[in-house]
Amino acid sequence: MGIWWANYIVTKEMESEGMELTEFYNAINVDVNVVIGRLGLTERHLKKYLGKFRNNQEFNKMSKAVEEKDYTNVEWAAHTLKGVASNLGLNLLQGTCQQMVDSVRSGNTDEIEALYKIVAVDYEKVMGLLAQVEFDE
């Protein structure tokens, strides 16, 4: 018959240039296998959640709240974001969000602005990396 399909497959592979999950997690210093092991699910599941995470509104809510100095909502957004981040193994985001929550709770609101900048940086990094991941839509 001839291997007419071989070309087809090779071409297909060359086409997809998206990042794989392992790369994504390596870029944020997390062992993807640990995350998958803990969740007891498959890579497909994790990808699904990460895909959903891209659409989360928490960071926007946090930004708005920081601007309006609405510290209750800052705490809420940070708390929620932290929870999601921890479940998905996005450790760097989890840490800064926890600090944010602690700051508001201890009444140390001057730190908030500074912490927010750090959260923003971490968040941008994660989102930036996520944008490069190949998601099956």
Partner: protein
């Protein structure tokens, strides 16, 4: 048949979290989701009996997790559905609040598949066990009541058969009695009625006319009015019935029901004003059960057909009773009758159709569970709560907690014991496995055991200190504090021992340092007078006649030296003397500075007095070249133990005299006491 998967409700405002948990659990359970507290409550109320477990977040809009727990408790849903908190917030306050509001468990984030599954599984299992238990008890109760009821039905049927009465008189008396008693229980709590008592009284009511067996049939079934004599005979049925039951005391299990039956039999014809029979009791002297049956009997007699009368209507009967036409009754009972009056007929109809559901077995079984030896659900959950708090706080504390239970012979240590000291987390059959504890020697351990056994309920705490090698290889001082817990028996025994192990190394080391400070001269670090005396006396006590040398030494012309060269020079001299002394004695000997420029040296366990002389010569020569800048000399007075004396005071005195002589003879020499005595 495939068993249906249990239903779990997941409550969290974040879709991601719900999705995560759902994915983890969907293989083994059916999943329902809610995005906030309000939704959750609605779902719960709609599907109460189907939900096996709820996973509940704390932070949600509209209604948070705490509010949900509170609502559930109020609606008695917490008793049926276990709640596991899934929150981001694991601060101790949040955890404690959840538990105190009735949560069954707490799962932290990030979620771990295995843990989540296991917790859900275990929690559901536990709750089902409790439910099954309650159901079992209810079943048993129902069985028992049914058996009771059956037996009595048989008896009553016999009586009724002879009576020629129809219309299920006994059954109706039981029903009316029960309904009346339930109403009294609600209205008049001072009677302290319980569901169990009501069941017993109602069953007993069926036996109220058992005495009629002895009444001749012609009188029993006479259609017309009874003569005085006939009536007298009829009246005996109450006393006779009571006697019959009384005689049964040795034959049957004479429980509450029988006693009620006896009372009812004898006194169900007494009246409130004392004009009843056979004893003419009045007022509260008539037991409540008899009063109620009396009223029920009258009501039923009025509303049923009898050989001597047709049935009256419900209203007529009530009126006749209220008007006192059938004798006087307890006004409270009449109030109760008034209250249920309208519904009485219906209830009789209902209940007589469902004879086996005469009593509220659910309530009775609840009461049984509340009695002394069996714990109520509430108590069990309180105990669970305390245990959880205790474990949680123990884990937080920095100490190693010990818990030993005598009856199970199991000892447990908190995790810190493992990480710091390599202790096992638990040891079974502890008494036989003491060697599993490798921290202290077997003797020390047995000794500790004995001390624990010697405690009493009043003096229950012991403290011991041990030097223990830790996991990191370093040894440190630890204090073990133990307290024995006692049973409440007449002769109390130890039922458990609790305690902790604390690292006291810092304090110990500090104390040792302070002790040595107290014992020593600050400048030279030789012993001071007091501790020198103590030590020497100690040595003398154990000396057993072995020769010892006591030297009293002082620096010649020290004051002059000090004045001429200054105190700093003086201090240097003192230090130098101390150094020379230390270099020329052994550890077991004692060297002290007892003031100014005076020193004592005690050398123990010398072979013989000749050796002693050599020693003195040697020591004296050691002071040959004290300081380079200047010639400094010392004088020494020497007394020998035991040759010169055996006590500290003696030896001191003699050495002192010898020193004095040395000074007199021009200093820079040593004198033996025996040479001048």
């Amino acid at each position: 048949m495939k068993k249906e998967k249990a239903l779990i409700l997941i409550v969290d405002d974040q879709e991601m979290n719900r999705a995560l948990l759902s994915d983890m659990l969907e293989d083994d359970y059916r999943i329902m989701e809610a995005a906030d507290g309000l939704e959750a409550i609605e779902l719960m109320e709609a599907k109460t009996t189907q939900i096996a477990c709820i996973l509940l977040d704390v932070r949600m809009p509209n209604m948070d997790g705490f509010e949900v727990l509170t609502r559930m408790k109020r609606g008695h849903l917490l008793e049926q559905i276990p709640v596991i908190m899934i929150s981001n917030d694991d601060s101790p306050q949040s955890v404690e609040k959840s538990y105190s509001l009735g949560a069954a468990d707490y799962i932290n984030r990030p979620f771990n598949n295995y843990i989540v599954k296991k917790r859900v599984e275990n929690t559901i299992f536990l709750y089902q066990k409790t439910k099954t238990l309650t159901e079992l008890v209810a079943e048993q109760v129902a069985e028992k009541e049914k058996n009771n009821a059956n037996m009595i039905t048989v008896l009553s049927a016999i009586v009724e058969f002879r009576n020629g009465e129809s219309g299920n008189h006994t059954l109706k008396i039981r029903i009316i009695t029960e309904i009346l008693l339930e109403c009294i229980m609600r209205k008049y709590p001072q009677y302290e009625l319980t569901y169990s008592a009501i069941a017993d009284m109602s069953n007993a009511a069926a036996l109220h006319d058992i005495g009629k067996i002895t009444i001749p049939e012609e009188i029993l079934n006479k259609p017309g009015k009874l003569t005085t004599e006939e009536f007298a005979i009829m009246k005996t049925h109450s006393a006779v019935g009571a006697d019959m039951l009384d005689k049964m005391r040795d034959l049957v299990e004479y429980n509450n029901m029988f006693e009620y039956a006896r009372q009812i039999c004898r006194w169900h014809h007494e009246r409130w004003d004392g004009r009843g029979y056979p004893d003419g009791l009045s007022g509260a002297a008539i037991p409540l059960c008899a009063q109620v049956v009396a009223l029920a009997d009258v009501y039923d007699a009025l509303t049923s057909e009898r050989v001597y009368k047709p049935p009256f209507s419900h209203e007529t009967a009530l009126n006749m009773i209220y008007n006192g036409e059938c004798g006087q009754f307890n006004p409270q009972l009449l109030e109760a009758l008034k209250e249920i009056g309208n519904t009485l007929q219906d209830k009789i109809m209902q209940n007589s159709l469902h004879q086996d559901k005469l009593f509220d077995t659910q309530e009775i079984s609840n009461e049984i569970l509340v009695k002394k030896d069996v714990l109520s659900e509430r108590t069990i959950s309180l105990i669970e709560e305390e245990r959880t708090k205790y474990q949680f706080l123990a884990a937080l504390s920095n100490e190693i907690i010990i818990d030993y239970d005598v009856s199970t012979d199991i000892i447990t240590f908190s995790e810190k014991g493992f990480t710091e000291l390599g202790l096992p987390l638990s040891v079974e059959h502890f008494k036989d496995n003491l060697d599993k504890i490798k921290l202290i020697s077997k003797e020390e351990l047995s000794d500790l055991f004995e001390k624990v056994h010697a405690t009493t309920p009043m003096m229950s705490i012991i403290r011991e200190q041990y030097e223990i090698v830790q996991q990191n290889g370093e040894s440190a001082w630890f204090e073990v504090i133990l307290r024995s817990m006692w049973t409440r028996d007449i002769v109390p025994g130890i039922k458990s021992v609790i305690g902790k192990i604390m690292n006291i190394n810092e304090q110990k080391v500090e104390i040792q340092r302070l002790e040595s400070l107290v014992e020593r001269d600050t400048l030279t670090h030789l012993y001071n007078r007091i501790s020198a005396q103590r030590r020497i006396e100690h040595i003398l006590k154990a000396a057993n006649g072995k020769t010892g040398i006591y030297i009293f030494l002082d620096i010649d012309n020290f004051k002059h030296l000090n004045d001429k060269n200054g105190h700093i020079f003086g201090d240097r001299v003192l230090l130098r003397i101390a150094e020379i002394i230390s270099n020329n004695i052994r550890i077991e000997d004692v060297a002290a500075r007892i003031g100014g420029d005076e020193f004592i040296i005690f050398i123990r366990d010398i072979a013989s007095e000749d050796v002693a002389v050599n020693q003195i010569e040697r020591i004296y020569n050691a002071f040959e070249n004290i300081m380079e800048e200047q010639k400094i000399t010392v004088s020494m007075g020497v007394s020998i133990y035991p040759a010169d004396g055996t006590g500290f005071a003696e030896l001191t005195d003699y050495a002192d005299k010898a020193l004095y002589e040395a000074k007199n003879r021009g200093r820079d020499q040593y004198i033996f006491y025996r040479d001048i005595s």
